[in-house]
């Protein structure tokens, strides 16, 4: 721990603080804009870090990473335009709150949740990173398969008032997830010869289409449309959540932070699994589950603390094993190696000072975005008062430019617009969009790991039940499936 002090000195040096502030602001902006993902933010910062000393470079990358995940919540809540899949679950409850004029409270809760999750995972990273990294290795293809099923089961929670329609959009998502060159046989599946589809239907254009572009339609098409519903278009409620609401959500935040950190450790599991599982768990433990999806502050807290807890979690295997936990940290590894830091245990011995500088800068970045967030959110809420027909074209422009910027492909822009129209009609006809996106994310994880399990076990289906970890996960899935049915049954019995 004697490296913590010099590391602290590094972070608090004037240049470092300036970098930290700029990085946090840049990250928040990047996260908030639809189409600019955390991955892209970090990737775009790497050339800038070429000529920086390694400490400053890491501070910049770390600050951009954690604050971009938080930044996604701002537009997810106020405009229902989640920039990345991490904030879809945030929009589920955040946007209804914004519509009711309570956007300020939702933003405040999101900020506190993000801060809690972020700090929790950084503390975990400082305290027990090396032993925890074994968790990443204990998960084999069998466990990933069951984890993906667990994530899909949460769709039941998300689309609970119309389960059949939820299952249908999820199935469509799974079919879309199968598009592309099959990694195992090389067969072209439903690509229609389009080389843009060989790698599968790209996630972010679909996400931006279903949420942001369709939202632009929602705002623009009806005459006099806008975010705020109701006749008196004014902001009700306060700009910060009540202490009572925060205290009520503390347990949810803690549970979500644990889920987020653990899922973060697993390479390739993805942020959205963490936020959806946490959201579902919060709903399951709530005394008023029927309020979820209609504007429940606890739902915002659950999703946000989970997705920010993932940030610290993903760095655990990245730093200790040299195995990046997700796309962002893979880019991060590129940034580290450019500065001569090869991820692995040597980071905690030979380069301990630099490594702890990075970790501490994450801590400070969390605090910094929380302060900035709590300060600006009372002003940002004004966005919801802007007339829909003014807001809509701007959201559309951001969506189009952001989608193009993902991989410089016009094809993706058409895809986003197409899914925007589909999403607009899906919403009018009450088909939930979130299950489609979750299925599109989890489909490949499910399929690839299922087939890997089969290749490893030589087509022995019992392999999922003979491994202790995978069996435990199977039981959790059964629990998550059976619990809502059981409560429903009990409620019906009580009513009688």
């Amino acid at each position: 721990m004697d490296v913590l002090l010099p590391a602290l000195g590094n972070v608090l040096a004037p240049m470092a603080l300036l970098t930290l502030i700029l990085g946090t602001l840049a990250g928040m902006t990047i996260g908030a804009l639809p189409g600019l993902s955390s991955t892209m933010g970090v990737a775009l910062c790497i050339p800038i870090t070429f000529n920086m000393p390694p400490e400053l470079a890491l501070i910049l990358l770390g600050a951009v990473y954690v604050s971009s995940v938080y930044g996604g919540s701002v537009t997810a809540i106020l405009l229902r335009t989640p920039g990345t899949d991490a904030s879809i679950a945030t929009a589920l409850d955040g946007y209804p709150l914004a519509e009711a004029g309570r956007g300020g409270e939702a933003l405040g809760m999101a900020t506190l949740g993000s801060l809690f999750g972020g700090l929790f995972s950084v503390i975990v990273l400082i305290a027990i990173a090396p032993p925890l990294s074994t968790v990443a290795l204990a998960f084999g293809p069998q466990e990933y398969t069951v984890l993906a099923i667990f994530g899909l089961v949460t769709i039941v929670g998300v689309a609970s008032d119309r389960p059949l329609k939820g299952v249908l959009t999820a199935a469509v998502g799974l079919v879309l997830a199968a598009v592309g060159l099959d990694a195992f046989t090389g067969v072209q599946r439903f690509t229609f010869g389009q080389s843009e589809l060989f790698d599968g239907v790209p996630l972010l254009p679909v996400l931006i289409g279903l949420f942001s572009v369709s939202q632009a339609f929602n705002l623009c098409v009806p005459a006099g449309g806008g975010v705020l519903t109701g006749n008196e278009q004014k902001l009700k409620g306060r700009s910060l959540p009540l202490w009572h609401d925060v205290r009520r959500s503390l347990r949810t935040m803690l549970r979500s932070s644990v889920i987020g950190s653990v899922v973060g450790i697993l390479p390739g599991a993805g942020t959205s699994i963490a936020s959806f599982i946490s959201y579902n768990e919060a709903r399951r433990h709530s005394p008023t589950p029927e309020r979820f999806g209609k504007g429940e502050l606890e739902g915002v807290a659950a999703s946000e603390s989970a997705n920010n807890a993932v940030t610290g979690g993903t760095l655990i295997p990245t730093l200790t094993l040299g195995i990046p936990g997700n796309a962002v940290t893979a880019v991060f590894v590129g940034g580290l190696t450019i500065h001569g830091l090869i991820p692995g245990p040597s980071l905690f011995t030979d380069h301990a000072e630099t490594t702890y500088t990075l970790i501490l800068s994450l801590l400070f970045a969390n605090v910094l975005f929380a302060i900035l967030g709590l300060w600006v959110c009372r002003y940002l809420v004004v966005v919801t008062k802007v007339p829909g027909a003014v807001l809509g074209p701007m959201i559309l422009v951001f969506s189009v430019i952001g989608t193009y910027a993902l991989r410089n492909a016009v094809f993706d822009v058409w895809l986003a617009i197409g899914f925007g129209v589909v999403g607009y009609f899906m919403e009018r006809w009450r088909y939930p969009a979130a299950p489609l996106v979750i299925a599109l994310i989890l489909g490949p994880i499910l399929e690839v790991n299922f087939r890997r399990s089969m290749q490893i076990s030589h087509w022995d289906l019992t392999t999922f039940f003979t491994r202790p970890l995978s069996l435990t996960l199977c039981l959790l899935v059964v629990l998550a499936l059976a619990y809502p049915l059981w409560t429903q049954w009990r409620r019906r019995k009580l009513q009688r």
């Binding site: 990443a136 293809p141 843009e196 060989f198 790698d199 390739g268 893979a330 940034g335």
Partner: protein
């Protein structure tokens, strides 16, 4: 052997080239090129190893050219999208791109019906990196040598599972080549990238890992992973204690190479100038030091030699493919 003679030639040529270019780029060749930023197409995502090399290269080449180089990522279809863009770009010298061998030369026949470019449309400029293939097992694995490994597969083919990172990619080809050489059948598990495959290997979920030296080096150096063989002519730094396949009686050569190419039809003066700039950068000790740090072994092959290198590899792989296609048809 081929690589070595190329190296020797390039050193001699490089020395002569440097002298020549110093005079030429300012006078005879200076047909007002470059007069605007140059686009460098990377067929893989930002932050990956190809992208990292491209960006470092661009940093040095900008100084030589005196003009900005804009790195444009056009990932998709395992590189094909980027190469289609490269092949179709205006051949004016303002677009160059990275090509990854052997992947770039196999698509024209493995994806014969759908592929969007042909090798005739791309003119290779210079190879920079050759990253040899490595077969590795976890440190606690019972297999110490290739013979142990082959023995185990022969005893019980189901007991051994080996990863590769993409069907028809260089890792997959390397493992197939080894299997053929050893007379065994391997059961493969496909992974999307190095990270997941390494995690699976360290967690004991798969038996062996076929990847590239640059990806495996740090794990081997830390002693978590044991290299069984490196598929090159000679042992490579920094994992010089890993024997080559050839030493152990399995003559397998496999590597992933990364170099630069321009659209065919670029004016000869521009091609020569870009070649000279590439040579300057690749021979720069600072650039070499940065590549070393990333465990990316430099293997400079310039101009016509590189064109031949790609064409030879294409012909060799195509005849292999025609004999026994590695993707089910």
């Amino acid at each position: 052997m081929r690589v070595q003679s190329n190296l020797l030639r390039t050193i001699v040529l490089g020395a002569a080239g440097t002298v020549l270019v110093g005079g030429l780029s300012t006078s005879a060749l200076a047909v007002d090129y470059p007069s605007k930023p140059i686009e460098m197409i990377v067929a893989f995502g930002a932050g990956g190893s190809t992208d990292t090399m491209a960006r470092i290269f661009a940093k040095y080449a900008e100084k030589e050219l005196g003009e900005r180089i804009v790195v444009v990522n056009r990932p998709g279809a395992g590189g094909e999208i980027g190469w289609v863009h490269l092949a179709n770009a205006e051949p004016d010298g303002y677009t160059l791109g990275l090509i990854n061998s052997p992947v770039v030369e196999v698509y024209p026949f493995t994806r014969e019906e759908t592929v969007g470019y042909s090798l005739d449309e791309i003119r290779p400029l210079a190879n920079v990196i050759t990253d040899p293939g490595v077969l590795a097992v976890a440190a606690d694995s019972p297999y110490q040598t290739l013979d142990d490994f082959v023995g185990a597969v022969k005893d019980d083919p189901e007991s051994v599972v080996i990863s590769h990172e993409g069907l028809g990619g260089d890792d997959h080809l390397a493992a197939l080549n080894f299997a053929e050489e050893a007379g065994i059948d391997l059961s493969f598990v496909a992974y999307n990238g190095n990270a997941e495959a390494t995690a699976s290997l360290l967690g004991g979920h798969i038996t062996a890992f076929e990847g590239n030296m640059s990806e495996a080096a740090s794990q081997i150096q830390e002693g978590k992973v044991r290299g069984l063989a490196v598929w090159s002519d000679e042992r490579v730094e920094p994992i010089a204690d890993v024997p080559t396949g050839k030493e152990q009686g399995y003559d397998v050569q496999a590597a992933a190479s990364r170099g630069f190419a321009v659209p065919a039809g670029v004016p000869q003066e521009v091609y020569d100038m870009l070649l000279a700039v590439t040579r300057e950068v690749v021979e720069d000790p600072e650039f070499r030091a940065e590549m070393d740090q990333l465990n990316m072994p430099i293997n400079a092959i310039y101009g016509q030699d590189y064109v031949d290198f790609i064409n030879d590899s294409h012909d060799r792989l195509k005849s292999l493919w025609e004999k026994d296609p590695w993707i089910e048809q």
